[in-house]
Amino acid sequence: MGRTLAEKVWEQHVVRRAEGEPDLLYIDLHLIHEVTSPQAFDGLRMAGRTVRRPDLTIATEDHNVPTLLGPITDPVSKTQVETLRKNCAEFGVRLHPMGDAGQGVVHIIGPQFGLTQPGMTIVCGDSHTSTHGAFGGIAFGIGTSEVEHVLATQTLPAYRPKTMAIEVSGELPPGVTAKDLILAIIAKIGTGGGQGYIVEYRGEAIRKLSMEGRMTICNMSIEAGARAGMIAPDETTFAYLQGRPHAPTGEQWDAAVEYWKSLVTDSDAVFDTVVEIDASTLTPFVTWGTNPGQGAPLGTAVPAPEETNDPAAARRALEYMGLTPGTPLREVEVDTVFVGSCTNGRLEDLRAAAEVLRGRSVVTRTLIVPGSMLVKLQAEQEGLHEVFKAAGAEWREAGCSMCLGMNPDTLAPGERSASTSNRNFEGRQGKGGRTHLVSPAVAAATAVTGKLTAPADLA
């Protein structure tokens, strides 16, 4: 019987397999940031251990960093960032600190450097590590104990998850993006739908996505509960990678591409579960509740709790969100718009927002936060920052920013945002803040009208 993509990549990385034990899996790339690593480095020190492969480890500062120029003013954040610097110096790990041209959100910099390649295993103490699966590897988030384990051994003991195919047929209609698609998928299968699975996204609509769109899809696999999401590599993947700083060159490039082409699910392979969705029926999608599965097409209304699959949770969510069933989603008024994050902080996302904002003005507080310093530079080379500034939006430095509000970019209690990030949990963007997850295009259109809006609605 044939094998799925996930099975092929997994098998390639099994260091040790023993009856009744989890597989010991080799890790090709370990990404580090300041929030989930300090206690892991402490653990190494206490046990007198070293980092086994600093050359397969890379660190960046992203979660805490301010997006306005200047030093970190919060002393606790400052200590955390300084701790990362000390740990990286002590253990020989390469770090991209604030101000460095390579600094950025951990899941943006891996792909942009060409460190994220097909067939690799990639981990990070961050659940959105699933992003890297867009290149056809197995990438997943881990906790601090596992960060320490990978630092010490470059391996992880793990049971192979089950496999799920999400088959996306048809083509996304104009104005409907990867973000709308993944929000629709999560609404369909639920926040627990992917638990215990590695998801492979397949089908015509997926093949037609750019690498950046594919990263948006895989990024939010965790919001469907999946351990990882992946997409088979193809010419789009190879074209994206070629010429990047850490991509192979010459004969090694040819050998790599030949291998990468084998990283597809065999035609006779069987998935444990298959989910089908027709992309051609989709429209812009937004969330109305406090988990990413509580979403609906923008053209609909706030649902009545009884119409949902978890009425108690919906009732609680609507109360928190300050929404009344039956209110058209297009009439929901927003105070703040955030464009950024590892979900939608890449160049294409900024282009999509700029296209809507060109020649228009925003009526909300609007933060545009590039995912990395390189994305910022590229956007400025294209003049996107001028478009944003002319529209009245704020053009910021790179970081995680308002996705989780560990830096000063937060919502005040009761404030409502349209956000291109990945989580609408209670208090995620600031205590008492209310979040609607949207695509960059919808975020930008919303900034123009002050209500949840699609670009097509604008005159």
Partner: protein, 195 residues
């Protein structure tokens, strides 16, 4: 890691689904670089409500959390596990867990117990009827017992053994360091390094 064989204690019913790790420990608490002091941040937003179940006198000192489904979804923050443990919990019972949270729990010796949703609800109801009810979670027998009731749960043999022995995963892996070296010698030559 402290070994876990069996635990008897009082339980607290948390009748909410999708208890994400941002609720268990909000991001503002993640700036600490130590492993201690997270109990103050546990459910800190929800605990501001005097009616929240953890604030009710009847449930003070409970060590088993009985939650709605999809507990620990979202962020990979292991701080959620530390916060629960430091507050005094040894066990979380739910019908479904976020994968990363569940993994993190077993690394730290906080036992995640999966029971069918209707069994979880029955246990919640029993605890609500009698908050002093003693609940026993027996990892050796893979069984939860309360009053005259009991329910079996599944956990793989390896994780159960590791928890019952209180073994450090890194130490176990380092026993196989030669396998790791052998694997490294055969890695594909084009794979990137960060230097």
């Amino acid at each position: 890691m402290e070994a876990f064989t069996a635990h008897t204690g009082r339980a607290v019913p948390l009748r909410r689904s999708n208890v994400d790790t941002d609720q268990i420990i909000p991001a503002v608490w993640l700036k600490q670089v130590s492993r201690t002091g997270f109990e103050k941040g546990l459910f800190s937003a929800w605990r501001e409500d005097p009616d929240f179940v953890l604030n009710q006198p009847a449930y003070q000192g409970a060590s088993i959390l009985v939650s709605g489904p999809d507990f620990g979804t979202g962020s990979s923050r292991e701080h959620a596990v530390w916060a629960l443990q430091q507050y005094g919990f040894r066990v979380v019972i739910a019908a479904r867990f976020g994968d990363i949270f569940r993994n993190n729990s077993t690394k730290m010796g906080l036992l995640p117990v999966v029971l069918p949703a209707e069994t979880v609800e029955a246990l919640q109801s029993a605890v609500e009827a009698d908050p002093a009810l003693e609940v026993t979670v027996d990892l050796g027998e893979r069984r939860v017992r309360w009053g005259a009731e009991s329910a079996g749960f599944e956990i793989d043999d390896y994780t159960r053994w590791r928890l019952m022995e209180g073994l450090d995963d890194i130490g176990l892996t380092l026993r196989n360091a030669d396998d790791v070296t052998a694997y490294e010698n055969g890695r594909q030559p084009w794979l990137p390094t960060t230097v």
